[in-house]
C-alpha cells in the first residue's frame, strides 16, 4: 500500500477553535483519517520536534498552521514546519491576520505584563515578580519561550502557500478543501485565499437591504433589531460589508452584527480601511445646504462619537496584518 500523505495541524498562539472546527467535521473526520496520515495533534508535533526536524524537507504534504506568532516557540515551529511541509497553510484568522490575540499590538509587552502580573484585583506579588525566559531554581535552570514585543501573522515570519480565513473556519469550508485535495482537483495559484467566498458577507446574508443611510449608530444592546432588515441600515455596526463571505452569515441570522472574522473580501488589503470607506459613503449627515464646514464636521463627529473604539471595532481580527499594524512605542 502506498504511503499516505502526511497531514499536520499545529497551533501557535490561538484558542483551539480551529481544531474543534476540524473535529466538527464529525463523521467526515473518518474520511480525512482514511485519506491522510493524520498528524492531528499539536502536541504530537511538538513532542517529536526532533523527529520532525529529522524528517527530509518537504515530507509533510500539508500543514494547517493555526494561531498567531506571539512567542519565540511559535516562531521557531513556524520555521521548522515551513521547511518540512510541501504546503504550509495559514489556517484561520490568527494565522492569516492576527485575530483577537493581535489586539495586544495596541499595548506594549511591558503594559501587558503589568496588567497580568502586577496590577489586577487578585494579584499577590509584593516582590513585583514577572516571568522571565530563564530562571534559576534550587534544582537547576528552568526556561520558557520569549514573549515577543508584537504579535505577528504567519505570513510575516515565513512564506505561506494558502490562506484559509475564519475564526474559526467553518467546518463545511474545511471539508470542501479536503475533498478537493483528495480528489486531485487543480489547486488555485499559490498565495490564494481558499475556503472562503470571493465577495462579502452581505452577499450571502438573507436580510433585506435597501438604500443604506445611517442617521445614528446603536450599540447592540440598545435596540432590538427588526428581524428581516439589514442590521447596518438599522444603525448596528455590522462588518459584513467589509468582510469576506463563505461563513453563511450565521451572526446576522442570530440578530447580531458581523464582527468581521473572515477578514477582508477578495482584492481588499485592509479590512478596517474598507469599512471606514464604506461608512464614509453611507453616513447621513443631513442637509448640508447653508451649513459651514465646521457645522458639517461637528455633525460627522457626533455620529462617530457613538463608536468609542475604532481599532477594536474595525480591526478586531486583523490588526497585525493591517496597514496600521498596531501602536508603536516611541
Amino acid at each position: 500500500m502506498p504511503e499516505k500523505p502526511k497531514l499536520a495541524i499545529y497551533w501557535a498562539a490561538s484558542c483551539g477553535g480551529c481544531e474543534i472546527a476540524v473535529v466538527n467535521l464529525h463523521e467526515k473526520l473518518l474520511d480525512v483519517d482514511a485519506a491522510f496520515e493524520f498528524m492531528f495533534c499539536p502536541c504530537l508535533l511538538d513532542t517529536k520536534k526532533k523527529d520532525i526536524e529529522a524528517l527530509p524537507d518537504k515530507s509533510i504534504a500539508i500543514t494547517l498552521f493555526n494561531g498567531a506568532i506571539r512567542t519565540g516557540e511559535n516562531e521557531e515551529m513556524a520555521q521548522i514546519l515551513r521547511k518540512k511541509s510541501q504546503l504550509l497553510i495559514a489556517f484561520g484568522s490568527c494565522a492569516c491576520e492576527g485575530c483577537i490575540p493581535g489586539l495586544a499590538n495596541l499595548h506594549s509587552k511591558k503594559d501587558i505584563f503589568k496588567a497580568v502580573y502586577l496590577d489586577n484585583p487578585t494579584i499577590d506579588n509584593p516582590d513585583g515578580t514577572v516571568p522571565s525566559i530563564s530562571n534559576e531554581v534550587p534544582e537547576g535552570t528552568l526556561t520558557i519561550p520569549a514573549f515577543h514585543e508584537k504579535v505577528k501573522t504567519l505570513g510575516q515570519v515565513t512564506e505561506v502557500d494558502y490562506f484559509i480565513p475564519g475564526c474559526p473556519p467553518e467546518s463545511h469550508q474545511i471539508w470542501n478543501i479536503v475533498a478537493a485535495v483528495v480528489s486531485g482537483a487543480q489547486l488555485p495559484p499559490l498565495g490564494s485565499v481558499i475556503g472562503g467566498g470571493c465577495i462579502s458577507v452581505c452577499d450571502e446574508c438573507e436580510r433585506v437591504k435597501a438604500d443604506k443611510k445611517i442617521e445614528r449608530f446603536y450599540r447592540n444592546f440598545e435596540i432590538t433589531p427588526e428581524p428581516e432588515k439589514c442590521l447596518l441600515e438599522q444603525g448596528l455596526l455590522c462588518m459584513g460589508i467589509a468582510t469576506r463571505d463563505g461563513c453563511g452569515a450565521p451572526c446576522p441570522q442570530a440578530n447580531m452584527p458581523c464582527t468581521g472574522c473572515y477578514g477582508p473580501p477578495e482584492g481588499v488589503t485592509d479590512q478596517g480601511a474598507r469599512m471606514i470607506a464604506a461608512l464614509g459613503s453611507i453616513l447621513d449627515i443631513g442637509d448640508s445646504k447653508g451649513k459651514s464646514e465646521e457645522e458639517i464636521a461637528a455633525r460627522v463627529e457626533a455620529l462617530l462619537d457613538r463608536i468609542p473604539d475604532y481599532a477594536g471595532t474595525f480591526y478586531k481580527y486583523s490588526l497585525p496584518g493591517s496597514i496600521i499594524g498596531g501602536k508603536v512605542d516611541k
Binding site: 473535529v23 463523521e27 513532542t47 499595548h107 531554581v137 534544582e139 464582527t259 473604539d309
Partner: protein, 494 residues
Amino acid sequence: MNRISIDPITRLEGHGKIDIFLNEEGDVANAYFQVPELRGFERFCVGRQAEEMPVITNRICGVCPEAHHMAATKALDALFAADPPPAAKKLRELFYSAFYVTDHTTHFYALGGPDFIMGPDAPPGERNILGVIRKVGLDIGRQVIECRARNHHVIKTVGGRSIHPVAGLPGGWSRPITESERDEIVGIAQKNIDFALFTLQVFEDLVLKNQAYVDLITADTYTHKTYYMGLVDGQNRVNFYDGTVRVVGPDGDERVRYPAKDYASHIAERVEPWTYLKYPYLKDVGWKGFVDGPESGVYAASPLSRLNVSDCMATPRAQEQYELFYETLGSGKVNGRYKPVHYRLATHWARLVELLYAAERMLELANDPEITSPDLRTVPGAVIGCGIGCVEAPRGTLTHHYEADERGVLTRVNMIVGTTNNYAPMTMSIKKAAQQIITKGKVVEEGMLNRIEMAFRLYDPCLSCATHAAVGRMPLSVNIRDLSGEIIRTVSRG
C-alpha cells in the same frame, strides 16, 4: 542533579512542560509544571466596548468558548445592571447544558476514558479511542460522534454559531427559538439522557466491577486533601449556570460561601517567575506552597470539586448516581451530607454524574413553556462601573471581572479561568505521581509515562478533547539526564 523533562505535555490553554528533578539518591526532589504561553487578554481587552466581551473572550478558548461567552454575558448583566427576563436565563442555561453534554462526552471517550477503560497497563497501542471502541463495541464511536454533532447543532441553533457563539447581550439573549426548534431540542435532550445512562453503565461494567481499577482510583498516588470550590444553588445543589460560590475544606465543612462579585476578597493569585500562568489560592488561608491539608490555601475546582461542595444534585437520576458515587467510594454522611471524596481519579466518574445532570436539565428546560418566549431582552441603562460574572466551566469555576467608564468602554479586566484554578493541584498531582513511581533512580518505564499523564489528565486540562480525538493518547517523551545534563536515556511513546 539528574533531571527528567516532559516537554511539552498536553494542553493547558495551549502549551505545557514538566521538569522533574532527582536528588543524589535518585528520588524525586521536585517537579515543576510550566506553562510557556501568555496572550494577555487582561490588558488588550482594556479600551474595548464592554458588550464585545462575549465575542472577544470566546477566543480565550475554542474548546469551551461557551463558558467564556456565558461568564462574559453575565458580567455584562452586572456591569449594565440589567437583569435578563426569565426566558433569557432559561435559554442561556439550555444552551449551556448542551455544551456540557458535548464537552464531558468528548473528555470521557476521547481523553480520560482510554486510560481508564483500558487501564494504565494496557499496551499503548490499545490505550486510545480505537481501543475503547474495540473493547466496548463499534457502536460507541458512532454514538460519540453523533452526540457531539447533535449538541453542536443545538449550540448553533440557540447561540448563533457552533464555535464562538454570538447571542449573549447585557440583559439578554439575541435569538429566540421557534416551537419546531424546541421540539427538535427535546428529542436531542432525550437522546442525551439515554447516552449518559449508557455511559455510566459502561463505567460501572468496565471500571467499578474491576477491583484493580477501584484500587487504582483509591490509591494514595492520586489522593489530595485540598479545599474544593464550586457554584451551588439556593439548596446547595450543583449548578453550572448560576448560584453562589461555595468552598469546603478537606473535612467537608463549609469554609466560605460568597456571591461572584466578592471573588477578589477570597481568591488571590501567586506569580512564579518560571511560568506564564498564575497560581490562584484561597486568600484567607494563604499560600503555603504545593501542599495538601487545611493549612494550605490550595483548592481544586473540577467535577469532583463541584460534587464535594454540594449537598445533592437537582435532577432525580443524577441524584441516584451521586449517592452511588459517595457510597461506593466509602464516604459516609455527616450532618446530612457526604464527606468529600479526595481520590482525584474519581473526577472521571464525577464528570459522568454531571453529564447525566446536564442531559436531564436540558430536557427540563427544553420542555419549559417559556423557553420559546421572544421576550429575551432587558434594555440596559447606564453602566454602573463594575460587573463580575461567574459560571462553572467544565474545568472549574470561571470568573470575569470588568470595569468600565460611563461610555461602556473597559478600563480594567481580570479573569480567573477554569483550568487555572487547578494549576496548583495539577502541579501537586504530577509531583506526587512522580515521587511514587521514580524511587532510588528506578524508573517504571511505560507505566511511568502513563501514570504521570493520568495525574493531570483527570483535571481535563483545556484542549485535551480536540487534540486527542484522532490520536487517542498523549505522546510523551521523557529525557533522563545525568549530572552534566547529557541525556542518558529516553523513554518515549508517540
